[in-house]
Symmetry: none
Subunit: 306 residues, 5 copies
């Protein structure tokens, strides 16, 4: 399939990367229903590790099975499937590249509460190579007192991943020295997107930003510059702009599970604001199979402008 102009344009925003890294980035952009549109929907399943199995897979017990998720991603036409080492080990050698894989190399469980959130690096870039992944995923917690350590880990992971031609997908969850609302405040999410881009992420994943501003200095700046924050579309626009004026791929999580109409409305707003896509886990795999396939296809239709 010849590359579309849009895909070529997006790849041109990464002029310092090797052909190998760009090739894998292109694979992400050229797979599934949204192939060639420059948009992407990724199925991530790290909740088993992050929230425990019953909370994650109880609602739809088929999800206890690692084969379930990759097949769901294929059936629904996703661009990629992302998971921790174990889930990928369980399927990579069987599906052998049928859908692009992203190895989430760090993960955090919820068995111990800590003041400064910090994930464990539970697998390696070499694992990603071995499993035929097209990218690695990493999570940072801007706002955590341990963030500098995370940024430095990430620096090494990005460098190693590049050396194998793998781009990096960065989960940026603001968390730590801030209010609960602040974690999804528009100023904080936009700042997290900027940090992610400056750290060298190829694809940035943030939560949908809310109409709240955490930092007093940011409040002044938003008001002075007249940056609209009322609608989700407004806010997504600001987040995308904060990721190098839209020259980095920013995708949005579905967040906590919610009703389908509310979810699709949010997707529409993200699309309208210039978001590059969604990374949707619980809202997808916790529904029955047919329903989740339909939902993902509906989401893709939004991003396809249909």
């Amino acid at each position: 399939m010849a590359y579309t102009d849009r895909v070529k344009q997006i790849l041109s925003w990464y002029p310092s990367d090797s052909p190998g890294t760009l090739t894998n980035l292109a694979r992400l952009l050229n797979t599934g229903t949204l192939a060639g549109t420059g948009k992407m929907v990724i199925l991530p399943v790290d909740q088993g590790f992050e929230h425990g199995p019953a909370r994650s897979f109880g609602p739809n017990p088929a999800g206890y099975d690692p084969d379930y998720h990759i097949q769901l991603a294929i059936d629904s036409g996703c661009n990629a499937y992302a998971a921790p080492l174990g889930f990928l080990e369980a399927v990579a050698g069987k599906y052998m590249g049928e859908i692009p894989l992203i190895l989430k190399v760090n993960n955090s469980d919820t068995l111990a509460k800590v003041a400064n959130p910090m994930s464990a690096v539970t697998s390696s870039v070499k694992d990603a190579v071995r499993l035929g992944c097209v990218a690695v995923g990493y999570t940072i917690y801007p706002g955590s007192g341990a963030r500098n350590e995370q940024y430095e880990d990430l620096r090494d992971i990005i460098a190693e991943a590049k050396s194998y031609g793998l781009p990096t997908v960065l989960w940026a969850y603001a968390r730590g020295n801030m209010s609960k609302e602040g974690e999804t405040g528009i100023d904080v999410i936009a700042y997290a997107a900027q940090i992610s881009a400056q750290l060298g992420a190829h694809i940035i994943k943030v939560k949908p930003p809310q109409d709240f501003i955490e930092q007093p200095e940011a409040k002044k700046a938003f008001e002075k510059a007249g940056i609209a924050t009322k609608t989700m579309a407004d806010r997504v626009k600001e987040v995308v702009r904060s990721a190098f004026n839209g020259k980095r791929i920013v995708i949005f999580s579905g967040g906590e599970s919610k009703e389908t109409p509310a979810l699709l409305e949010e997707i529409r707003q993200i699309h309208q604001g210039g978001g590059f896509g969604s990374i949707m886990g619980r809202n997808a795999f916790q529904r029955p199979h047919a329903e989740s396939v339909k939902l993902l296809k509906d989401v893709m239709n939004v991003f396809a402008g249909k």
Copy 2:
């Protein structure tokens, strides 16, 4: 272009460096409008990481775009453009050395407040080599309880950078165990310049020093030696003298955004005091394009003695 006597003189102050490191130092001195004068104006854009995107780029939204800044540096005839990894990745492979690049390898966000300021090392000397940079930049916070760790990190970075022929530009911001005024006190800034030079920095960046003395012992020494601190020119002279009697390149930040006349008057004083140039970020890129090009050119005219 044949080297001027002034450039040769400046290079002679670094007699222990390899030809490779001196070659890159010369590139910084021989680029742009001030090429050959021994003076330099550098455009640094790390504020997106340090202060967040809205505060940094809201005033002139063109600055959200990574292409904007390198083009601004070229258009205005700067000696170099300095930025964190992400901003350089976004342009290095496109501009291919059209202007000397400085990779700021450590950076600090303002999402978490800490007692002892400390930046994360978010990129590496090898990244600087890969991107074709002519120097690396590093920030120390003399006064921070974590300063020794920073000095030791810096030691390794300087040594690695030298092994690739890259000089080091040191951002020295006194911060930590001192009063707010003390951070820009003449004794503290002069001391920070001395520390920077002793640590082996090739180019030292400090804030314009104010007529305030933080340390009682320094107060006595200034008085006894009759060191003038009244005008900015007086103070810059003392800072430059503190950097090996002017045998290390010391440049001054523009500091917080201010009105043009005040800014240019400060530049005149810096020039009069023997400062080697300016590193001007917010005061440049937060203005509209034409205005910032004009400002930078006016600043260069001051340093060119026009």
Copy 3:
């Protein structure tokens, strides 16, 4: 200096190189009288090693001095100066990048006659980094029974040089299992240019091809395809075409010393045939200083289309 469209076009032919390597390639294209034209004239002085001092420097004894040659390259506006380790060691720390340097990492003396010509690797890529060079130079002898060993050495040197952002200039001298005429036969030179490009050279240096075809199979092919070989311009055109249809920089040696009018006529033909420039040693430095500066400037005028 803003990059010209021609320089940007040439750099676009190397899309898989790192920004660092492209930056140094750009430095070669943007220095000296021909800066920005996409043409280059390089002064190489390896004859002291290759032919001995009296044969090389006897005609103009100023050339015994290592300072002479780099100054000649500067005075005449060359793009770069190329030499073995010793000559560069003697000047690099003194000139500190005043003109781009190319370290010829392998060299061959003529004290022992061997069946299969083979140079010794007398310096390293790390030496080139230490001395602030913008490229490394390497010589292959296609036709030598030892050529495969040379190609494999070169493979490692190109890879190491790239890791430091250094492009490779390849001296391709056909020599060995062929007739004396064959060494400069059009089929052989074109073939050597093709091999050089396939080996990954950024800049290829060959001798001016003569109207002679060494290989019977080539003779048939030239005839069948109607490739003109009568004039030097015809032959240069074929050589350049053989270097990826002109998408690799091919420059031509001046060859043995000859009279100025003949030399300039040859240059005109090379220019007419699309050659990217000249690398001229003996014909330059064996003349008295003023005469050689004039000659090099005349050569540059030809390539500048003046």
Copy 4:
């Protein structure tokens, strides 16, 4: 110059060191006015880093210049010049071994007050090799809660220095969990000298001990053994005895700046007590040039027994 019997005797006290390390130790003993006497006067200039530039160089502003100090050491016939990285970088490649250099690899600024004094390791043994130094210098703070970390750092530095044939000069400043008087108490200084020798230092630098005993257990021991502490000569004798019965070179700092007669009297006592020499910074370089040369020569005359 043939080695004197005294130099040979001193070197015989280090029978387990390599010829390389002994060679450099001998260089220290065989340079300057005191060459061959077994005595040494060293000029150390680390005060710019330790106390700030105005306090250090304000009294004699010529000292802002790095060239000033090495030239002062040469002019006055010192055995060696010791300084942090920056000051040595600024002169090593220019003086090329004209006087033995000692790189002080760790240093502490006074911008932040800390409970447990600890220097940063601001340069490396490899830097000392690169700069042609004959020894490395290191500071420990016996009494600091961080002393064990310092001893362990030192262990590695001594071992690495030996691998390059470099002896170690140890600055032993008791500081931390003791009274202000205790820092220069005879028991503490003697103890610090013993620790230094046990840690493997080749040359030990302590402050002139005062007639004060910090530790009750030491008080008893001094009294019981009838160790005289009344005169400086008495106390120096005890300190030297504590450094392996005089089989390690112990030199004494000049301490805070004081009047010349008092200073020379102190030197006489140190000499009388068997001290091996002085390491004199502020008392030297803060005087006008002629005066400081005279002072240093007077000091050397004392140690030369003239």
Copy 5:
């Protein structure tokens, strides 16, 4: 001892070397009777290895003892003593730097005749560091079919030696594919000096050149350029010129043992021709002690211009 202008001038010819390497080069120039003159006489004793003990030490059996030679070098005021590992191991820890040592790292015995002469690398640069040497020595045989291997070994040894601040003394003996006369022919010796300089040697040792030209092409070049070769002074001048126009230190061996008057006449010619000194083994140590001391002093007097 302050450096003389001549020593500073000579050191300025090595502008790309580290301060450490220049410091050791200066030690060679600043030791012994000729200290500061820019001339040097070195005592080399590798004949035990190269020719066997009886041939070497039979004439003066004191020479069987390793202590004999270093003491001879000291007694006669040489700049340095050069020998293979064993001889240096036997004295370095005893003399501890009393005279600069040069470790000859490769050596060749005469027990097996080979077509292509090649020495074994019998010790390492690290040995030189451990023994406190100021330089390493290496032998190449230009003309040997194995010369390329030697040049490549040398490349690595020079690079490693530089990393420890050690310069390299190169023994260049043309030997192999040439006539017996050719080995000391003026063209060959001059060519060997040029090759040595291009390979990066700091000090070059060749045999006194004879009035014979080996290579036909060289013969033409000598004649055309009118290079005088009649007297030894003429020929030495050409050899020195061939070593970067006199910007590399070239010293001459005494060659086979001969009568004192003839020897001193040769030295006078070498001095007159601009040679930097002599490296004299057999002619020194095979004489009785007093006689050899006298001879060496007479030689030094010639180079001192007395």
